[in-house]
Amino acid sequence: MVSPDQDGVQRPDWYQFKLGKFEITVFLDGVSARDGPHPTFGSNQPPESIHALLRENFLPSRRFENLYIPVLVNTGKQLVLIDTGNGPRGRKTGSGRLVALMNNSGYACERVDIVVITHGHPDHIGGMIEDGVPTFPNARYVFGATEFDYWNKGENIPDARVQTRELFMKIAAPFAAQAIFINPGDDVVPGLRAFEAFGHSPGHMAYHLESAGQQLLLWVDTCNHYVVSLQRPDWHVAFDNDPEQAAATRKRIFAMLHAEKMPVIGHHMPFPGLGFLDKRGETYYWVPASYQFNL
């Protein structure tokens, strides 16, 4: 009998599928287990309400996992990366894996044509710089104009985001001279359009993809816990800059996705972050994609 050594949790960290003529690859930049979800999620609710909801949904009430899923879209003409993960600053805690995963996938960083920054939070901008130089040396950059202005001006930055602002000025703002600033409704390339999703941050944007009649929304950080914020969109989330605006954005986007039966990718949904919304009564539920994109 061979000695059967055990070596711990191993999980999938990339998934690639076709949407019309586009090829979409999602990467697991990393995960972090932490205490909660309360009070990060449901910060305006008593803990018992959150614990009960979690139990109903087969989830523990004292620990949860956050994860980070940057998305690469190959339109056949351009390679567009949406967000950059945690980068070097995440490596001591096991994230910042995007670059290594991309290299394994056959998409070298040099081949990225366009980097889209959805908003200025560290887990989205952290991978823009590696060893002091741009991680994606041949890329152009796209920022939401409202979002870039907010962090660049630095007014009304809450105490909890002072470090985020410092990081933004250090690693994202220097790209301004090589960047383009867009507004909701603008196209990055044909088939990739900015979609207003303000609230999580002042200029946070989702992105709508369409190719050969197939659609998909990257809702990015519109909803950040696949049970709590789906089933209880009104509950406040400590990560959201304006909790009421973020709740309104969630409900608007949920209603659109459900009505259109449109698939969605979320930056913090369970890997590979791809799913649909179901509605039972007045409540929305996350339904992970299964074989829909493999046929």
Binding site: Q10, E65, P134, V142, F181, Q292, L295
Partner: protein, 332 residues
């Protein structure tokens, strides 16, 4: 920043007319854009998932999937085709095609490596299944490390991966199968059946299981394979089909094999017949009994044909059930 914001057209910001304006803004340490036209690489996906259950480690292994150009009457044979299609549409699933995937499970108890089922082997490799050995290697296992192979039932997608070119794929393994199941399938007269698919299945058993019988133990429901792994009666899909209950350090898990074979239809509508079930009515009774137990005990489970990584929970939903894939519960 506002003064630097481009006044851009709605379409084609960085392509077509917009590209010149965008390129003009690039300078400094950034090289000129190359528009790399990266080649499309084709769909691809992960092939294993591993987590802890008490002191055990459980790995699910992706053997592959087959594309099937219909859903009804494979599922919902005793229902109207329109009703099956409507239910699929409601659940964001196509009505005229599906994939069926195959997911063997490996339980490492710390003392033995126990593998449940073996995939489709050579028989369907050209069509996209039978890749368990490749996934096993990616998961860090070599074939000689497998100590015990448990056969939940004798259908070809479970047993045809045991042998390759007339040789055992797992050279050090001993085998465990249900006695009712083996006694049914090993009968040579099945090869004379007028039912062609019965002959194909019986031949797969003659080729891949019968030659290994001298290294096999034949068990009944309620028997332990090793400490912490117990067979559970689940007859119906085949005459002696069994599930396996796993327990370590107070944590429980059920390998339910083929109790339910479509992750939406066969859970939500447990009464709908499935053509893969040899005794459709007995399979319905078993389905409800096993799914009731998983739902009531709120334990995690693995189903051979659930979407990869095929690990999840079962909830009651009206008169039926709902498959809820595991997210981070088993990773914490």
């Amino acid at each position: 920043m506002t003064k630097d914001t481009f006044n851009i057209s709605r379409r084609g910001l960085l392509a077509g007319a917009g590209a010149a304006a965008a390129a003009a803004t690039l300078s400094g340490h950034l090289a000129a854009p190359v528009f790399a036209k990266a080649p499309l690489l084709g769909a691809s996906r992960p092939t294993h998932y591993r987590f802890k259950l008490g002191d055990f480690e459980i790995t699910t292994i992706y053997d592959g999937a087959l594309a099937i150009p219909k859903v009804h009457p494979i599922f919902g044979k005793n229902q109207k085709i329109e009703d099956v299609k409507a239910y699929l549409t409601q659940n964001n699933l196509p009505t005229d095609k599906m994939t069926i995937s195959f997911t063997p499970v490996i339980v490492n108890t710390g003392k033995e490596v126990v593998m449940f089922d073996s995939g489709y082997g050579e028989e369907r490799r050209a069509k996209g299944a039978g890749k368990a050995a490749t996934a096993l290697a990616a998961a860090g296992f070599t074939p000689d490390q497998i100590d015990i192979i448990v056969i939940t039932h004798c259908h070809p997608d479970h047993v045809s991966g045991l042998m390759e070119n007339g040789k055992a794929v797992y050279p050090n393994a001993r085998y465990v199968a249900g006695d009712v199941e083996y006694n049914f399938w090993s009968k040579k007269d099945l090869l004379e059946s007028s039912n062609k698919s019965m002959v194909r299945r019986a031949q797969a058993v003659q080729n891949n299981v019968v030659p290994l019988a001298e290294k096999a133990t034949f068990i009944k429901p309620g028997a332990d394979v090793v400490t912490g792994i117990t067979s559970v009666k689940a007859f119906g899909h085949t005459p002696g089909h069994m599930c396996f209950h796993i327990e370590s350090a107070g944590k429980r898990f059920l390998i339910f094999a083929d109790v339910t074979n479509h992750y939406v239809v066969s859970l939500a509508k447990p009464d709908w017949h499935c053509v893969f079930d040899m005794d459709a009515e007995a399979a319905v009774v078993t389905r409800k009994k096993i799914l009731d137990m998983i739902a009531a005990d709120k334990i995690a489970s693995a189903g051979y044909h659930m979407p990869f990584p095929a690990v999840g929970y079962v909830e009651k939903q009206g008169a039926g059930y709902r498959w809820t894939p595991a997210s981070y519960q088993l990773d914490l």
